[in-house]
Symmetry: C2
Subunit: 243 residues, 2 copies
DNA sequence: CGTGAGATTGATTTCTATCAAAATATGTGG
DNA sequence: CCACATATTTTGATAGAAATCAATCTCACG
């Protein structure tokens, strides 16, 4: 099963010194198993912890007063999650495991010490947070300005490309680990309509499905339909302070 | 006219040392006037600059292949803009002045030097970037899961509260400096429908309008309608390294 | 004044939600 | 390992929200 530590993930962008790697590894000293469906953090709860996700998948979401849910983000191994608690003492979003997962909680004061001692890591975290913000703007444009079909296409491509970041064995088919209702909650549609779109894309030969796995059969056309741009390709962090 | 430097804005969250303030002030050494409507940054252009917005207002947006526009964010004096160029060498979004404005461009290598020398500032920027990300998730939930009326209400409240951050004189009425078409592009609606919602809210006594200024007459109900939570209130950055 | 951008209103269409039911799949306790 | 309970997917019919199309109106400004 694909697992990924935070240091490795960061090192994919910028070379890290051994000291830095070791310091980052300390954030993951307390791995904790969580079962599929388990709540890792509840909205409005007082929080002082952040997490590195080591194994499995996690989603963040909010529930609106009318009961509807907006899934904000799906996280993969090596992702830094719950970063909102660096700024707010009450969690603005909930975190639930989509999978049997392993998360590594650490106190924000451990983060503070890391930031103090390793300015280069602080800078790197700043950059990655900016990258997250850009990912968010892509979703915003998708929700605000594109059709149901485009949203589904963009969402599938997004998950696909992020799965591939941590799992090289994947070429065109992958486990979504989300119900159609969850997909809908992520992209602002009802499960019924997600199903119609998925069905349609299947008929058109854009995707195929078999026991929970999705295959993207025509990535190029999916990218067109979803107005998708892969942001992972052209990240450029080399200008950072040298190690 | 309300202007605000970056250091002052940051100092509202955390006490800054004089050295730090001075270092931050150096980012603003090259103020540049831009006229209303002027493009500050064009999407896909190679960029190595970031900006602090000193005066006026700026918006970021993308244009989709079908010509529709998604406004991603409206920026106010003291905001740090164009942070995507810390991660991408081609701008993922365009920047246009909504106002006659003053921006202070600085090279990302100036930022690098700042981050190297002042880890505490690096940490602070990291936190503010996280706050931006949370603001983004609020908009995502708004676009994905709420009605046209709710979106308009939430949008007005958001702008209102952010205007107030830099201008204490404002109590309940403010200049939006956006056409109804732009509002629509920000919240995923057509200008026609924005107009209907605004009209309706006016009839219901929730807001009133006079020569471009908007007054929020019933903030409490607007917050309910828009499912709005003011995130500026309970930010907590005190746990950061001491000066 | 005339011109053009923006606001407003009405009529109609389109997309997506909602409601309802059936069909499949998944999981669990015995 | 089966049988039942529950969750998820699928399909159809209908309703509703917002888009689109098309004028008209208003107002700031050269």
């Amino acid at each position: 099963m694909a697992g990924s530590c935070f240091a490795d993930r960061l090192a994919k962008h910028v070379p890290l010194s051994d000291v830095e790697k070791k310091a980052l590894a300390r954030l993951e000293e307390n791995p904790r198993r969580v079962k599929r469906g388990a709540m890792i953090q509840r909205v409005n709860e007082t929080v002082t912890e952040l997490f590195v996700l080591r194994h499995g998948r996690v989603m963040s979401f909010v529930i609106l007063p009318d009961g509807s849910r907006q899934i904000l983000r799906v996280y993969f191994p090596g992702d830094f999650i719950g970063s909102a608690s660096t700024v707010y003492s009450k969690a603005p979003e909930s975190l639930v495991a989509l999978d049997d997962a392993v998360v590594c909680p650490f106190d924000k004061h451990a983060l503070r010490r890391l930031l103090e001692e390793f300015p280069r890591v602080a800078a790197l975290l700043f950059l990655l947070s900016n990258a997250e913000r850009v990912a968010m703007t892509d979703r915003l444009a998708s929700l605000g300005r594109t059709s149901a079909k485009a949203r589904v296409a963009a969402f599938l491509l997004d998950i696909f490309n992020r799965v591939r970041l941590t799992d090289d064995s994947i070429t065109d088919s992958f486990d979504l680990k989300l119900t159609q209702e969850e997909i809908g909650d992520a992209i602002g549609l009802t499960s019924v309509h997600v199903n119609r779109m998925v069905r349609q894309m299947e008929l058109e030969g854009l995707i195929s499905r078999a026991n929970g796995r999705i295959s993207l059969l025509d990535i190029k056309r999916l990218e067109e339909i979803g107005h998708y741009t892969n942001r992972h390709k052209d990240m450029d962090l080399d200008w950072l302070p040298a190690a």
